[in-house]
């Protein structure tokens, strides 16, 4: 097992695309080989060593640490399939996109489309995420389809658009159209939501642990108790802490919809 450190040498004006730089790829290579890995900056292909200083040390797991000002680095952890990737600061767009396994920690903010089409693993963002997190790539039919996304800050608009599976948790507020066109899965919001939550929701669960939203008239109040299900779900959400810590002891109101589409989704407001 080894820990690989990539230190960004200087901030760049052009975007850097870090697809292909994952813990499992780096774990199988020596430092010299890692330095020769190709990344793109703008429309140029460069050796990784032209942008990052690469070093290696022993570690307990296959770990890759990115250091420096990473806000111009896109696709951090793109298609990641194992190991631990730690970004020591804010990252650009598509962080954790299409990741299948492993853990990605972002110690800052993430840009647009974080965790888009994520299929497995755990992505934790200590700061905020931009629009379309946990959603689809443009033109695609399914959004996040597995794994867990934990956002400790706020999220932008269209959070979990077309989400199909997995769990996405936001400690703070979310923008407009959260869980729009949601197919299935679980979204939990600790703060407030913008306009039109769960618009076109087909199935799945949207939990508001904080202030409840204005519920669309295309949702109907649920008359029956779902206490068993709530205990299963809330105990799992509670392990994230923060606004979700006390959920199992709290009561809920459920609304079923969106009747404009399949109508099997549920919007849970914690009272």
């Amino acid at each position: 097992m080894s820990r690989t450190r990539l230190m960004l040498k200087q901030r760049h004006g052009l975007r850097i695309d870090l697809r292909g730089i994952t813990p499992t790829v780096c774990a199988g290579l020596g430092v010299a080989q890692i330095e020769r890995l190709q990344v793109s900056q703008g429309n140029r292909a460069l050796a990784l060593a032209e942008l990052f200083a690469v070093s290696r040390e022993d570690g307990e797991a296959d770990e890759l640490r990115l250091e420096g000002d990473l806000s111009s680095c896109d696709r951090v952890g793109w298609q990641m399939d194992g190991g631990l990737l730690v970004a020591e600061g804010s990252v650009g767009d598509h962080a954790g996109g299409c990741m299948r396994a492993g853990e990605l920690q972002v110690h800052g903010d993430a840009g647009l489309l974080a965790a888009c089409e994520m299929a497995g693993g755990l992505l934790t963002v200590q700061g905020d995420v931009g629009d379309f997190a946990a959603s689809t790539l443009p033109g695609s039919m399914d959004g996040m389809r597995g794994g867990s996304l934990v956002v400790r800050g706020h999220a932008g608009a269209r959070f979990a658009d077309r989400m199909r599976r997995g769990t996405a948790v936001v400690f703070g507020d979310v923008g407009d159209f959260v869980a729009s066109r949601m197919v299935a899965g679980t979204v939990a919001i600790g703060g407030m939501a913008g306009a039109h939550p769960a618009y076109g929701m087909r199935r799945g669960t949207l939990v508001f642990a904080g202030r409840g939203p204005d519920v669309s008239p295309t949702f109907v109040p649920a008359l029956a108790s779902a206490e068993v299900f709530w205990q299963l779900l809330s105990r799992d959400l509670a392990r994230h802490g923060g606004p979700f810590a006390g959920l199992p002891a709290r009561r809920i109101q459920r609304h079923l919809g969106d009747l404009g589409v399949d109508g099997k989704g549920e919007l849970i407001v914690v009272t």
Binding site: T186, V228, L232, R235, D236
Partner: protein
């Protein structure tokens, strides 16, 4: 010739119980309160005394406090055993579908984590007629089926493991009262253990069987060597004139160790009653050791721990 083992006046036969590998699973049934969980578990484990004609052997393993269950409600652990994984899956689905899904407020979960998965709520979900929904929580899929009291929640699958079936004790007593007292005490002691069930009514069977019959269509028939009513009539009897009543306790367990421990505590409970209480002998049923791979020798089970 080894000296006979006598404990508190009870003769312990120098024999062994012969047990067989079975397929086993555990499920957890919870409900609004323990009474309703017990209603469901009792119904689901009904008519499940012997694989000879019931399809499976099943029983309630133990009660679960609210803080031991996935949904924070009281519940019960149920063990089911069958001769094949396919038959076990069939029995599980029928029993949960007819006895747990139907019982007010219940939910059902897997009680084992490791092993081949068999459907629990996976097919029962279709009772929802299209209104059923699934939810994956912490990597486990649950089905929510709308029913008239709200919704029935069932974990999608449970696991099958290799179990041990057919551990047994034969309690030979001077009369019915003494035999029942010894059997009841033994069953009560065994029920305090985990990983075992005693599938017969009250944990006790009075119709111990031998393999085969004079009637070719019957796979099993009365164990005539232990029938007091046949002493003097059959060619070979295991009884003497003092023994007028015999009870058997059959034990199925998730492991060989669990079955052995249940037999041990059962014997100790009988020994505590002793010959003064009417229990004269403890024996065990076997088929000469040629059919089942698990042999539980009574003397070894009662030996000090280091000598077993």
């Amino acid at each position: 010739m080894t000296a006979p083992m006598v404990r508190n006046g009870v003769v312990i036969d120098d024999g062994f119980a012969e047990a067989f590998p079975m397929k086993a699973t555990r499920i957890v049934i919870t409900a609004h309160n323990l009474d309703w969980a017990r209603h469901a578990a009792t119904a689901a484990t009904g008519f499940a005394t012997s694989v000879i004609a019931c399809g499976c052997e099943a029983g309630i393993e133990r009660e679960l406090a609210a803080d031991e269950t996935p949904d924070g409600r009281p519940g019960l652990c149920v063990l089911l055993f069958s001769m094949s994984g396919k038959e076990l899956a069939k029995q599980l689905e029928r029993r949960v579908g007819q006895c747990v899904l139907t019982c007010p407020t219940t939910a059902v979960y897997a009680g084992l984590d490791e092993g081949e998965a068999i459907p629990l709520g996976k097919n029962l979900r279709f009772f929802g007629d299209g209104w059923q929904t699934s939810k994956v929580i912490a990597g486990v899929r649950y089905w929510r089926v709308p029913v008239m009291d709200g919704e029935f929640v069932a974990q999608e699958t449970t696991a099958v493991t290799k179990g041990v079936g057919g551990g047994n004790l034969l309690l030979l007593a001077r009369d019915t009262d003494a035999a029942l007292a010894a059997a009841e005490a033994a069953v009560a002691a065994m029920r305090r253990l985990r990983g075992v069930i005693m599938p017969f009514p009250g944990g006790v069977v009075r119709s111990g069987s031998k393999v085969g019959s004079k009637y070719v269509s019957l796979p099993a028939s009365t164990n005539d060597a232990f029938c007091p009513s046949l002493v003097g009539l059959v060619a070979k009897t295991e009884l003497d004139a003092r023994i007028r009543c015999v009870m058997e306790i059959v034990i199925d367990g998730l492991t060989e160790q669990a079955v052995g421990e249940a037999m041990r505590v059962g014997m100790l409970a009988g020994i505590e009653i002793g010959a003064a209480g009417g229990l004269l002998r403890i024996s065990a049923g076997n088929y000469g050791g040629k059919l089942g791979p698990f042999h539980f020798h009574l003397h070894k089970l009662l030996a000090p721990e280091g000598a077993r």
